[in-house]
């Protein structure tokens, strides 16, 4: 499932416009520790976090995540969005908690796998 479709299904608010929306989403990763994200998240994962500062762009670049979803109704700083657009890192926001929105992604991707197998 590509990022554009995932964002629509999850009801995410797009904060960075049309950049890289056709990237394939390979899975999800939930973490608010940047070292953990760098060690364990995988390329193409959608990263769910409560962080809103500039460091999320750097960590996203290192891992090459499909995008970053800021959860719990938090909003990124303006300079974060400017840098994210410069670097091609899609950033989304949602009122949903990390648990809720990541759970939905897990279900969608799992159902997709099941449909592919049948």
């Amino acid at each position: 499932m590509i990022l554009r479709e995932v964002a629509e299904k999850l009801g995410l608010i797009n904060c960075t416009g049309s950049i890289n929306l056709d990237e394939e989403v390979t899975g999800g990763y939930c973490s608010d520790m940047l070292s953990d994200v760098m060690a364990k998240a995988r390329k193409g994962n959608l990263w769910f976090t409560i962080h809103t500062h500039i460091n999320i762009v750097a960590a996203a670049l290192v891992v090459e995540v499909a995008g970053v979803v800021i959860t719990g109704g938090r909003e990124p700083e303006e300079k974060v969005l400017i840098r994210a657009k410069e670097e091609g890192v899609p950033i989304f926001c949602t009122e949903q908690s990390t648990f809720e929105v990541a759970g939905k992604l897990y279900l969608y991707l799992s159902n997709q796998c099941l449909q592919c197998q049948t």
Binding site: L34, K43, H53, I54, N55, L61, V63, E87
Partner: protein, 179 residues
């Protein structure tokens, strides 16, 4: 194998300057992608850079990041002026941190920075002088197929074939130089 040119980059790391961390990651990544390096090799270098630069910002007063690349390896050198590391063995333990609470709120200070660096580097040297600073040198090998050198045998072979000036004095894994 594609002829890989040399890359030399340098960044000044100012006090509490997190902007330079993302800038360093972005510019170095672009440079390494331009050399046609394998994605996994680039990822390892980026992890080392972001973790090491963040450590300078969090724990030191200021520092520098230098990245040197040739056909055999990426050499990352991070030096800082600051309080130094009293016990490097302890600092390398997963979960150990001296980061203040305001840093933890930014997602750093989990105590996995140096362990991440050690995991990604094929060779690592950390030297420190108390109340002077820290010097970190990390090597990521580029094998002749420009692919991930996964086996210890391949890593050993590459390490043995590096010229002395390529690895400088990184033979010792880590050392503390007392004041």
């Amino acid at each position: 194998m594609k002829n890989i040119s040399q890359v030399e980059l340098e960044f000044k790391i100012g006090e509490k300057d997190f902007d330079v961390a993302s800038k360093a990651v972005s510019e170095t990544k672009s440079a390494l992608l331009g050399l046609g390096l394998n994605g996994e090799i680039i990822r390892k270098a980026m992890v080392i850079i972001l973790e090491a630069v963040s450590n300078v910002i969090i724990h030191a007063r200021f520092g520098t990041l230098k990245v040197f690349t040739n056909s055999q390896r990426i050499l990352i050198v991070v030096e800082d002026i600051g309080k130094g590391i009293p016990d490097i063995d302890l600092a390398l333990q997963e979960g150990y941190t001296t980061a203040p609470d305001e840093i933890k709120k930014l997602g750093f200070g989990s105590g996995f920075g140096l362990p991440n660096i050690r995991q990604c580097a094929d060779k690592l040297t950390i030297r420190s002088r108390i109340e002077v600073g820290v010097e970190l040198k990390a090597l990521v090998f580029i094998d002749k197929n420009n692919s991930q050198a996964t086996s210890p045998e391949v890593r050993q072979k590459i390490g043995n074939n590096l010229k002395k000036e390529d690895i400088e004095d990184t033979e010792v894994d880590y050392a503390i130089c007392k004041k």
